[in-house]
């Protein structure tokens, strides 16, 4: 088995799947977007405000909280999956919610993975703003909301990096998704878990094809986000 022929075969199969609009591939891809997109969105809604507060407000334990967030950026997805699974099992603390082996469980696990990433990058992005700017804006008579809006715009580079990093972290993970989702066909299978399954079955060409599709998907989305991030920015 020539390794290169696997890649070649994989590319050809990816093309076939895309052109024919293979229903199973579309279903898996759509679910991938749904799960990771929702998780990223929730993580941004929760993570950006927290990051801003941590960056701008002084309070006891601030350093500890930021340390925990930064630690959370490196959480192994498989560990997140295991712990979430334990909580969601029938006889676990949240078992009565009946969420195990559903896309919702996958979203929960992915939020746990992405949220610290988004928050951590946001803290760094806001803290990177020249502190003089903070006072300048206030001196110009801005109210609290205008201040916030302007600071966020100023930190746009870092904030979009936060979103891209959060999204990248969850669309690529497989450990948590398999544990809490179960990789069930038609219900909780996403691109990464499908690829993992195909590899374990020895179907390397199909695994490569799905990999190509996943990479394309991720590239398109991050390219769009990058476009917005880099808008009108040229390196000095």
């Amino acid at each position: 088995m020539l390794v290169l022929s696997v890649i070649g075969e994989g590319l050809i199969q990816a093309g076939k799947l895309l052109i024919t609009g293979d229903p199973e591939m579309l279903e898996i891809t759509w679910r991938t977007l749904q799960v990771s997109g929702t998780a990223t969105l929730i993580s941004v809604i929760l993570g950006v405000p927290l990051g801003v507060v941590l960056a701008l407000r002084k309070f006891i334990g601030r350093w500890l909280l930021i340390s925990i967030i930064n630690f959370g950026m490196g959480l192994p997805p498989v560990v997140v999956g295991l712990v979430t699974w334990i909580f969601l099992t029938r006889y676990g603390p949240l078992g009565s919610l009946g969420l195990l082996y559903t896309p919702t469980a996958m979203i929960i696990a992915q939020v746990i993975i992405a949220f610290p990433i988004v928050a951590g990058f946001t803290v760094a992005a806001i803290q990177a703003i020249n502190p003089k700017m903070y006072f300048q804006i206030l001196a110009l008579g801005a109210n609290r909301w205008q201040l916030l809006w302007l600071m966020l715009r100023e930190a746009r580079l870092g904030l979009l990096a936060a979103v891209i990093a959060g999204f990248g972290g969850v669309i690529s993970e497989v450990g948590a998704s398999i544990m809490v989702g179960g990789n069930i066909k038609g219900l909780t299978r996403v691109l990464t878990t499908a690829i993992s399954l195909d590899v374990s079955k020895g179907e390397f060409e199909l695994a490569t094809a799905l990999s190509v599709i996943l990479l394309l998907l991720t590239f398109v989305i991050t390219a769009v986000l990058t476009g917005y991030q880099q808008h009108r920015r040229q390196p000095q």
């Binding site: 609009g21 759509w30 082996y101 179960g182 398109v220 476009g227 917005y228």
Partner: protein, 293 residues
């Protein structure tokens, strides 16, 4: 402007995917509407080797169409498959590690323990057979020769049914496998076969997975037929009296389905068209001693 182009391309693609997602909503099944049970969700815990044979991919939809249950199959190695049952986290199990199942049957964790089918384990290895085990009659003798020759042997090392069987053979042969020749892959059967191929080593595998993978795995079958190598599948319910949250009706329906004559006939024929031989032998109703006769 560059940004506008990005936005437009991005939005169009997302829109297309959205459309595809909407269009893909599966149409409701139009054959005679199956009964809708009170609790339609059924968690089936089984093993990756069972999954890899493809049998359940065909049987589960049949079961769902017939009974209206919606099965969530969760596949792990036998160790985890059985452990899920022991914790009441699954409703029904299809497993093939009788020695690991026995304690749970004895202590009442599992009920309605029914024989379903069997296939067999085989020892595969490099076609040139460095340990020269071809033609050996018993599995313990074959293992002894492999250990003596210190030929590379890949163990699954994951408490799966296959792994449990492998360890039992070493034990019977009176050997504790140790050394650089004995390697544990810690992965499923498909991948373990791949490792064995790459390292030109021997491994114990169930025939079903091997047949399903044969086009990718150019290893030879070097030892087969020992009665000790039978791989026996049982289906069992998790005891609802011990675990109140199990779906007992659904589990019973699945057990009944697996042993009924139509399903048994299907199992007996499964794989014939693709591999020239069936992947399983159907055994419902027999006692374990009668298998293989």
């Amino acid at each position: 402007m560059k940004t506008k182009k990005f936005w437009v391309i991005g939005l169009i693609l997302v829109f297309l995917l959205l459309l595809a997602g909407c269009a893909k909503q599966p149409a409701a099944p139009q054959q005679q509407a199956p009964p809708t049970p009170k609790n339609p969700d059924l968690i089936l815990s089984s093993t990756t080797s069972t999954r890899d044979t493809g049998l359940l991919d065909v049987l589960i939809p049949q079961f769902e169409a017939k009974t209206g249950y919606k099965v969530k199959p969760i596949y792990n190695g036998s160790g985890a498959a059985i452990a899920l049952g022991e914790k009441g986290e699954a409703d029904v199990l299809l497993t093939h590690a009788p020695s690991s199942e026995k304690p749970d049957v004895d202590n009442g964790n599992f009920i309605n323990y029914q024989l379903v089918m069997h296939n067999d384990f085989i020892i595969v290895g490099p076609p040139d057979d460095p340990a020269q085990i071809k033609g050996i009659k018993t599995d313990t003798d074959a293992f002894k020769k492999i250990a003596a020759a210190k030929s590379v042997f890949i163990s699954r090392g994951d408490k799966s049914g296959t792994n449990t069987k492998e360890l039992a053979i070493w034990k019977k042969a009176g050997i504790t496998p140790k050394g650089s020749w004995y390697q544990e892959s810690g992965t499923g059967m498909g991948q373990t076969l791949q490792v064995a191929l790459e390292k030109k080593g021997y491994t114990l595998t169930d025939r079903g997975t091997f047949l399903a993978q044969q086009k990718n795995i150019q290893l030879a079958i070097l030892m087969e037929g020992d009665k000790d190598l039978l791989n026996i599948y049982h289906v069992e319910q998790v005891n609802p009296q011990k675990f109140s949250k199990v779906n007992a009706d659904g589990a019973k329906a699945f057990v009944d389905f697996m042993v009924n004559p139509d399903t048994q006939k299907f199992i007996a024929d499964f794989g014939k068209d693709k591999y020239g031989q069936p992947l399983f032998y159907a055994d419902a109703g027999k006692s374990v001693d009668q298998i293989g006769k």
